[in-house]
Symmetry: D4
Subunit: 163 residues, 8 copies
Amino acid sequence: MAKIAILLGSDSDLPVLDKGFKIIEKLGLEFELRILSAHRTHDEVVEYIESLDSKGIDVVIAGAGKAAHLPGVIAALTVKPVIGLPIRASLDGVDALYSIVQMPGGIPVATVGINASDNAVLLAAEILSLKHPELVANLKQHRVEMKEAVLEKDRKVQAKYNK
Amino acid sequence: MAKIAILLGSDSDLPVLDKGFKIIEKLGLEFELRILSAHRTHDEVVEYIESLDSKGIDVVIAGAGKAAHLPGVIAALTVKPVIGLPIRASLDGVDALYSIVQMPGGIPVATVGINASDNAVLLAAEILSLKHPELVANLKQHRVEMKEAVLEKDRKVQAKYNK
Amino acid sequence: MAKIAILLGSDSDLPVLDKGFKIIEKLGLEFELRILSAHRTHDEVVEYIESLDSKGIDVVIAGAGKAAHLPGVIAALTVKPVIGLPIRASLDGVDALYSIVQMPGGIPVATVGINASDNAVLLAAEILSLKHPELVANLKQHRVEMKEAVLEKDRKVQAKYNK
Amino acid sequence: MAKIAILLGSDSDLPVLDKGFKIIEKLGLEFELRILSAHRTHDEVVEYIESLDSKGIDVVIAGAGKAAHLPGVIAALTVKPVIGLPIRASLDGVDALYSIVQMPGGIPVATVGINASDNAVLLAAEILSLKHPELVANLKQHRVEMKEAVLEKDRKVQAKYNK
Amino acid sequence: MAKIAILLGSDSDLPVLDKGFKIIEKLGLEFELRILSAHRTHDEVVEYIESLDSKGIDVVIAGAGKAAHLPGVIAALTVKPVIGLPIRASLDGVDALYSIVQMPGGIPVATVGINASDNAVLLAAEILSLKHPELVANLKQHRVEMKEAVLEKDRKVQAKYNK
Amino acid sequence: MAKIAILLGSDSDLPVLDKGFKIIEKLGLEFELRILSAHRTHDEVVEYIESLDSKGIDVVIAGAGKAAHLPGVIAALTVKPVIGLPIRASLDGVDALYSIVQMPGGIPVATVGINASDNAVLLAAEILSLKHPELVANLKQHRVEMKEAVLEKDRKVQAKYNK
Amino acid sequence: MAKIAILLGSDSDLPVLDKGFKIIEKLGLEFELRILSAHRTHDEVVEYIESLDSKGIDVVIAGAGKAAHLPGVIAALTVKPVIGLPIRASLDGVDALYSIVQMPGGIPVATVGINASDNAVLLAAEILSLKHPELVANLKQHRVEMKEAVLEKDRKVQAKYNK
Amino acid sequence: MAKIAILLGSDSDLPVLDKGFKIIEKLGLEFELRILSAHRTHDEVVEYIESLDSKGIDVVIAGAGKAAHLPGVIAALTVKPVIGLPIRASLDGVDALYSIVQMPGGIPVATVGINASDNAVLLAAEILSLKHPELVANLKQHRVEMKEAVLEKDRKVQAKYNK
């Protein structure tokens, strides 16, 4: 079954994952969640990333705030795709965004929007679908539902405002 | 063979791809390059994205500058992973970065650094390696070579500066 | 009668329209409001924009936050004037502003201030006044009333503070 | 015939208009160009804006850099649509952009991108097309040509890069 | 007696003046306060600025938010010193700051910090002291009191924290 | 005769003063120029500022780049008006602007635009005109000439572009 | 015993020190706290900095907000290491950060993150450990405890989320 | 003898060190220079940092651009003071500054200005002077020379400009 690893730099960032957990459930993904700091627990990060193959995990989401090094540090440890999730902890999240997306040449991090854990999980699923083609249907179904949700809101608004 | 699609919003952005082309060659990837504008040639974008399956292309790199909509527009057309490459055309590239990375919930774009076509291609290869495991060795070899290049520079600098 | 189309990317942005609705009422405009996403419901956006002629609608206001593509996507579908309303959802609205105002050459979006739905509607009315000259008097009357409101406040402040 | 007024705060900004002049010629517009400063020649600005009706001019483009007040000052003098063109003279043009787009409620300025004189003229033409419907065909033709230009570049790039 | 004119673009900005009013009282200044908009009530602004000489007012404080044109518009009407007070209404006040401080060459505005009405009044008093030398003693006395206030806080903190 | 003191943090900033020197000459001002660093030569700054009274100098222009402390340090040493001139040496001059304009309450600095030495001198002259009323005529004459210069450019542009 | 001096520009910034005080206690440091303004009480700052040698204090932490000159002013008075602590009082703390970190060549300030008093104290202790080697063990112990705290959180999160 | 370690993320950043090398020579410091990437050569970074004690090196300068992780990664490996040198490679160096200075609580980096290698070395020497008190005289002498250099420039400027 398709499984993703999620690493956060701090457990205070857990609420940011709420939107992501909903997508995980909707798409029927498995996940492992770890709280590990790039700087304070580097060895555990290394150990965990090295264990991914044996666990059948092919994509990593890493979220951090401020000078957010965790996604880049993980990306340097693996050639599996690493998704960087900038978390707003200061400076409106711009410091985290720059610290993640502006990685030097050679070590890419697939960065999503500030606090956008839903998009991080969706991107993970899109990537996993290369190996788990059954996810494609789920992803397309989610798109259909999102579209339906917009259209439903549109109908309500039209009923209220348009004569 | 592993193949990526690259779409640019303008042919004036072609030089930005130079670093990416080198990685493509090094990793032995195939690619298709298109110049298509999200706004001026939307139909052609749709048509091309719909053709990806038949061409065996599983990942898209889309680069654009200013109010860079191309990556997001493509991401809305497919559940394949789309890599957004912000191109510096004004405001130091911050406008392109925000227009790409801050996508609304539901339509993720895997954003890399400003003008970082090398990282865009490497990320594409990492993603493709889920389906084309033979890429893993190439990616790891590239890491080894990058490391060697750094160590070679380090040796030269040490020889010159450290007694 | 002069009529404007208003499209929002999300119904959570509806409160931003409050100031705009007041101007609509004051100026005696008609409007249609749609909740449509550039990415999730592109077909409906196309269909709606193509229907504008038959409805006698000559100007569109499009509001969105974050990587706000809706105004630009609409502008690419029509040569009618499209007014872009950046909505503050993150980064103080700067991401939305850049994603709207920095459109590439060829597809202009008439951008107003962040969350400034009143100015969006006033601009729509000014544009419509080219075809509906009866709006000119209403617009001028609104300017007179704004001036009166400032002067009234000025009188109160003068009475309180100036001896 | 459809005619636009263009006001610049300084003649040193004239080169910024080059892209705009090309669109003017392509669309067959007439224009009047004035160099007038909001602060140094306020009376002349007032006088000129008051003359627009008699000249059959229904839309104004105003460009300025730095603390760019000219577009807002003009917008306060008329209920005709005023297009603001932020010009890059310092701070990458962000100061001009903010000084133009963030107008207080009641006095809208239709702002285009930094140095985007082409989009300023296209927007002017779109607005004028409400009164001069013959412009619609020209605007649509320009879109067709832009599309053709992109496709031509795309063909060249495909011929060179795609096997 | 030394007198200053204070103009605000909107009465909603009155609370920003609180710190300034305290300095006015402390220094024994007179003032006139007006709520006048650069755009909505330009004639009244002109009329008021032209009346300053007859009222013996030699310095003007002008405060405004967003695209804050009021200080620059006033500065264009007089060669008396005009102090610009950027007010935080959006974008953390950066839009107001840029719209005030980045005035084009020829029309200076003496800009103080965002929402810093105390410094605006102190600067006004420093300027007026050239003509009203009796203010110098008050200004120096205020500096002495500020110093005393800091030292008093320092003593309390030392008593509490330092053994 | 009206005299201003100009202090720069570094002689490498001298070219920034060119526009200011022209205004000095035009208005018939006297000046003293010093290169003094707030940090390296604090004593000399103190000594010089204390000498201003004896020299009949009533206003100071202080220019510096980066973390520009010189204007604030001087403002803390005197209750004479101090004009802060932010100089672009890094970060487009935003660091210097913030370091000068955002002074804490109690010590105002009259800040002008980045590199705007002309406006610094004009503001100095406006302030000095409270004590040297003969400057008023010169300042008004300069405004007249600036207006004439704009109108002359306007005539040339009209002759070239307007039929 | 190892002792640090802490200077704040205002007692309203005291709460920012809370995290720092905890580190001080944990590491068994001594400290002196002063509230002194670079501008209002320059003499007292000079006097205090000159007293450091006699008190056996070898490192200074200086915190301030807005145009934060205190750290730089202190750094100019001593060749002891000065740690700058930017405090968020406006503009998200960016003005304080730039005013502290962008010091001109010759007078360095060791800048830590916005409001990061914990890191300021840790850096002070790291510096002091050159002279007080007994601090090394405490610093290493703190790292061990931080690591343990992360791992404890990690265990809890794993127990809750990972099957 | 007092010795510092300097690590750069890339040899293309070597020219940034020029100003720092001059200070090293002036102060009579020893140094070791390494080109090591936090991400590509993490093991070598660890190995080198672990060797510092045996080499008698007590302070590290680490410079990097873009998403500059090197200083923070090193700071996590040692409780010796680590000086972060943000290097301008994109976004005017703001990305590097944020990635270095905004470190999470527990792992401080002593950050200096963008490209300010001179201040990095001076800060290193100030720190080393706690253990090598003979450096104090050199540092004070450098201050004296800097002061002399300013005064010499001041004399030249006075001779030229002041009558």
